[in-house]
């Protein structure tokens, strides 16, 4: 079972529980956790650029590598496999933005149950899947991660009690309370309409499907639902996740999550269901706006880049979606002689032929509506709705490394969403190399005497802009969460 789809993972699996307990005892016995909280509280205010604090610390891990040869670069001695536990260790200890992750999920500076009752789930290198992990602070989380070196980890809901204590609390009182509203776009859902790549492969051409989806969903969430704190994150290979972090979004129950997911859903039906976009007219304002966004993209991204009606078979699919048999026959005849006629020309032919009177039965309005439906079928976001519908669905954390590609799951800047190219997303190996190279340059400049220790590892790498984007996002969220002075009126029921 893919950890991704563990809406209702059976937590009673004895194997897993044994592991979970083991982890409990080895790493964070409850008493020790208490002291950690105290330490943490003392630390919290002495450093505003929190991650520096961490990047200096794990000397223990560095020295173990140092033994092999301190002169050689870290990246040289590691295998090229991005999911190698040693690579993971380096990444988690030097680059992962723990502090910001904590602030993001905690919604405040002081540790609260928002973080402490949050479920984390680890995928280990032996593919074991550890659910219901939880931590009072980012330090304890970080320590566990460095110990377990998971190939990735996921974030679940905030529960009514600490997830580790779920067996101790009275039955029925362990419940998920809140979680960000999440959306998942995956290019595999586009396989029937993308022509450039398939399965796990992607290129900049088919990435445009994701770009279009982000544009449409983002504006709907903001303008229609009034959400403000929406973070889009590259999923590491062929998709993107949205985290809607507004307080109101976090508290939505399943029925309301479903309402949003269904509101956004336009493409309905499976492989055998024919025309998948069937909309009432006039179009709902959300669809109308989406259509206006997508119309332009359709010409470039679809007709030109995907060329989706090129072959005879593909053209047949187009005929299935068009309303008029006579028109179809006329088009079929025209295209027979020019087999490889580009899709853009074919698309134009539809209107030209209709205007030239190729069909006596065609109703222009119906043709127009069908053409709109086709534009939407080839451009409108295809969301994995199940992910969004359930409060207790787990989703991969931002900034973890995709084990297959080595790419970091970085946030996407929606103000420059058209510029985002998954090819430019740094891989973990590249980042570690950048740390090494940065040092080399500095040594030459400063004669080895420069105080390089003040510069965090993230700042030495191309992860920096993504980190800054995340930090900015988290700051805005925290500003919005800061409790306002409550007027006595509100006590009045």
């Amino acid at each position: 079972m893919a950890p991704h789809s563990t809406t209702d993972h059976d937590g009673d699996d004895p194997m897993q529980d044994a592991e979970a307990i083991q982890v409990d005892e080895n790493i964070s016995p409850i008493k020790a956790e208490g002291t950690v909280v105290k330490d943490e509280l003392e630390h919290i205010f002495d450093d505003d650029d929190g991650d520096d604090l961490m990047t200096d610390e794990p000397n223990a891990y560095k020295s173990s590598i140092g033994k092999i040869g301190s002169a050689s670069a870290i990246s040289d001695i590691l295998s090229a496999d991005p999911s190698d536990p040693e690579v993971m260790l380096q990444f988690y200890s030097r680059l992962f933005p723990w502090r910001q992750l904590f602030r993001w999920l905690n919604h405040a500076e002081l540790p609260s149950t928002d973080f402490a009752n949050r479920e984390f789930a680890f995928t280990l290198h032996n593919d074991a899947y550890l659910r219901y992990q939880c931590y009072p602070t980012f330090e304890t989380l970080r320590r566990d991660v460095l110990k377990l070196k998971p190939s990735r980890f996921e974030i679940g809901p905030v529960y009514s009690a600490r997830p580790r204590d779920r067996k101790q609390v009275p039955k029925g009182s362990f419940k998920p309370l809140e979680k960000e509203l999440v959306f998942d776009i995956d290019l595999t859902d586009y396989d029937e309409i993308r022509t450039c790549c398939s399965k796990t492969k992607i290129c900049i051409k088919c990435w445009q499907f994701v770009t279009m989806a982000i544009k449409v969903v983002d504006v709907a969430l903001r303008d229609d639902f009034g959400f403000e704190h929406i973070m889009w994150v590259y999923s590491g290979r062929r998709g993107a996740h949205a985290w809607v972090c507004d307080k109101k979004a976090r508290k939505l129950d399943d029925a309301k999550r479903r309402a949003i997911a269904t509101y956004l859903e336009v493409i309905r039906g499976g492989s055998q269901s024919g025309k998948k976009v069937n909309l009432d007219r006039p179009l709902h304002p959300h669809i109308r706006r989406s259509f206006e966004i997508l119309q332009e993209d359709f010409k470039h991204n679809i007709l030109e880049n995907q060329n989706p009606f090129k072959s005879e078979k593909q053209a047949e699919r187009l005929f299935q979606l068009l309303p008029d048999r006579q028109l179809n026959d006329a088009l079929r005849e025209k295209w027979e002689s020019t087999i490889d006629r580009p899709s853009a020309d074919k698309w134009r032919d539809i209107d030209d032929m209709a205007k030239a009177g190729a069909s006596k039965t065609i109703i222009p309005k119906i043709l127009l509506e069908h053409k709109q439906d086709i534009v939407l079928e080839y451009t409108y976001p295809r969301l994995d709705a199940e992910v969004s519908k359930h409060l207790n669905h787990l989703l991969k954390s931002p900034f973890v490394v995709h084990p297959g590609t080595g790419k970091v799951c970085v946030p996407i800047d929606t103000s420059k969403v058209d510029d985002f190219d998954p090819d430019n997303v740094p891989t973990v190996m590249q980042l570690l190399k950048e740390i090494d190279q940065w040092k080399d340059v500095k040594k030459e400049d400063d004669d080895g005497s420069g105080n390089t220790s003040r510069i965090s590892d993230i700042d030495k790498t191309s992860l920096k802009p993504y980190y800054e984007l995340f930090t900015k996002f988290v700051k805005r969220l925290l500003d919005a969460e800061r409790p306002v002075l409550v007027k006595t009126e509100s006590l009045d029921y």
């Binding site: 303008d223 229609d224 639902f225 009034g226 959400f227 109101k248 939505l252 029925a255 309301k256 479903r258 309402a259 949003i260 269904t262 509101y263 009432d280 007219r281 006039p282 179009l283 709902h284 304002p285 959300h286 669809i287 109308r288």
Partner: protein, 525 residues
């Protein structure tokens, strides 16, 4: 904020006027409106008889609603059923049922007050009975919501508006300027799908009044894109207020029930009410098959143990599976014996024949083993041993919900408890169903978790000819089968039309399954 307050003020005033207008004098009338949101608990005393009778009457109505839901009846069908039932058990007449000239006559209005009081009190009594478990709460809210919807939609338009105004829904009016600003969007949503001529659409839009609410108050309207959304607010036209009111009704009732459940254990109660409440919550059980109302399976003939193999052709898949498992294994585990044994008992197998049947079936056991281990259980299920309860055959709902089968168990509902492959295989080997479209349909039903529909689909396929004949002969409406014995009865009478009892057969099905206060419960009292 000020606007909202002003609105509230206006509403209050309006309501006040209306009340005075309606009664001519008394503004403090206990029930000025026909509809009730049940915000205030009853304050007056009632007699113990009234307490119980009112609750039972309401329960009959809710029970029927649940039966309708179970049958997947449409809202229109439910409305038709409810209309009759409510007239009998829980009438609720509008203010207009009393002629304007007579409304000042306290006696005439007293009738309405009494009806409304009964509605009000019975609702709160049942709250006490059904707050105790999550399952009961859920079912209570669901059925009460449907009852409320029925009354709301059948209410007089003017009185409905008055009632709406009396609720302080958290909504803001949409000003004319705002309505004009979003005219295009609002109009698009309003007439979407209707293919209405532009002129008519314009008229309709102009006549519409909008309210603004938080979108999640009307999440069903959002889900189906039937409202316009801007900045987290849904613009709800007056014509769609039902959805808003229903959401509010359900929400308030849910919250109230949870509160009730919390105080229930601390209820300072004498021992007169607790038994009644317990009894009431038991009476609210799944629709039940009533064998006495059913035409006897074999037109009055008793069934013998030797006939069962032949009769099994009329069994639904679950029983066919139990039967073949019994024949193959020469044994059934506990719940299998219970599910199958009670089914056979309801079929008309007498206790002596039942003992004979099971004795022969368990052929690998010695007499001593059989008498020691199984005889008592069989007699017990016939009410001849132990508590002496006359157990009833399990309904589909019970089979679906209670005691999911474990390893080696043959009971349960195959549509629910079998894997897709095994289900197809069982349908092929046990029922002889290999029609692709039927199997695909079954798969669809099962995926949608509509197990009884899958079973009915198989039934319809296996009785295609007979059903067509019946239909051609002007036969009655077919209803969804929700009980294995109902399946058998229908199957048997369809295949043996000449032997089945003539009179009452057609509508027999609808009377077979009815909600009732169980006999055993009545005895307990």
């Amino acid at each position: 904020m000020q606007g909202a307050q002003a609105l509230r003020q206006a509403r209050k005033q309006k309501r006040g006027n209306y009340i005075t207008g309606a009664t001519g004098k008394d503004a403090s009338l206990p029930y000025p409106n026909r509809l009730n949101f049940y915000n205030t608990p009853p304050q007056e005393e009632v007699s113990l008889e009234e307490f119980e009778q009112w609750a039972i009457d309401r329960l009959r109505v809710l029970g029927e609603i649940e039966t309708c839901l179970f049958r997947n009846n449409s809202p229109t069908e439910i409305d038709a059923v409810l209309k009759k039932l409510l007239d009998k058990y829980l009438p609720l007449n509008s203010n207009h049922s009393v002629p304007e000239s007579e409304r000042s006559n306290p006696k005439r209005f007293a009738g309405l007050t009494q009806e409304r009081k009964k509605d009000h009190y019975s609702h709160f009594i049942l709250r006490l009975a059904f707050a105790r478990s999550e399952d009961l709460r859920r079912r209570f809210t669901r059925t009460e919501s449907i009852l409320f919807r029925h009354r709301f939609t059948t209410d007089d338009t003017r009185e409905r508006t008055e009632f709406m105004n009396s609720l302080e829904l958290d909504s803001q009016p949409v000003s004319d300027a705002e309505k004009a600003r979003y005219a295009e969007e609002l109009k698009a949503v309003l007439v979407s799908g209707s293919r209405m001529p532009a002129e008519k659409a314009k008229q309709m839009f102009e006549g519409e009044v909008y309210l603004k609410v938080e979108w999640d108050r009307v999440s069903d309207l959002v889900e189906s894109r039937r409202v316009f959304l801007r900045a987290g607010k849904a613009y709800v036209p007056n014509s769609m207020l039902l959805s808003l009111v229903m959401a509010e009704f359900t929400k308030r009732l849910d919250e109230a029930l949870i509160k009730t459940a919390r105080v229930l254990p601390r209820l300072d109660e004498d021992d007169r009410l607790i038994p009644i409440l317990n009894h009431l919550s038991k009476g609210f059980s799944a629709p039940e098959y009533n064998s006495s109302a059913a035409p006897s399976a074999l037109a009055g003939d008793a069934i013998t143990a030797s006939q069962i193999d032949a009769l099994s052709a009329h069994f639904p898949l679950c029983m066919r599976h139990l039967h073949t498992s019994l024949r193959r294994e020469k044994h059934l585990k506990h719940f299998g014996r219970l599910q199958y044994g009670l089914f056979l008992k309801t079929l008309g197998l007498s206790i002596d024949e039942a003992i004979l049947f099971w004795r022969q079936a368990f052929s690998t056991f010695t007499d001593e083993q059989f008498n020691k281990e199984y005889r008592y259980n069989i007699r017990h299920s016939y009410g001849l041993q132990g508590a002496g309860r006359n157990y009833k055959a399990y309904s589909c709902q019970q089979i679906l919900m209670d005691h999911p089968p474990g390893t080696g168990d043959a009971h349960g509902c195959p549509y629910r408890h079998f894997s897709a492959d095994n289900l197809n295989m069982a349908l092929g080997t046990l029922m002889g169903v290999d029609d692709r479209s039927v199997l695909a349909g079954v798969k669809q039903d099962v995926t949608a978790k509509k197990f009884h529909l899958a079973c009915n689909r198989v039934f319809e396929h296996m009785h295609e000819k007979e059903l067509k004949r019946e239909k051609d002969a002007g036969g009655g409406v077919r209803e969804t089968i929700i009980h294995p014995n109902e399946y058998f009865d229908k199957s048997w009478s369809l295949k043996n039309p000449d032997k089945a009892r003539g009179s009452g057969k057609e509508n027999g099905a609808s009377s077979q399954v009815k909600k009732e206060i169980k006999d055993e419960d009545v005895e307990m009292m």
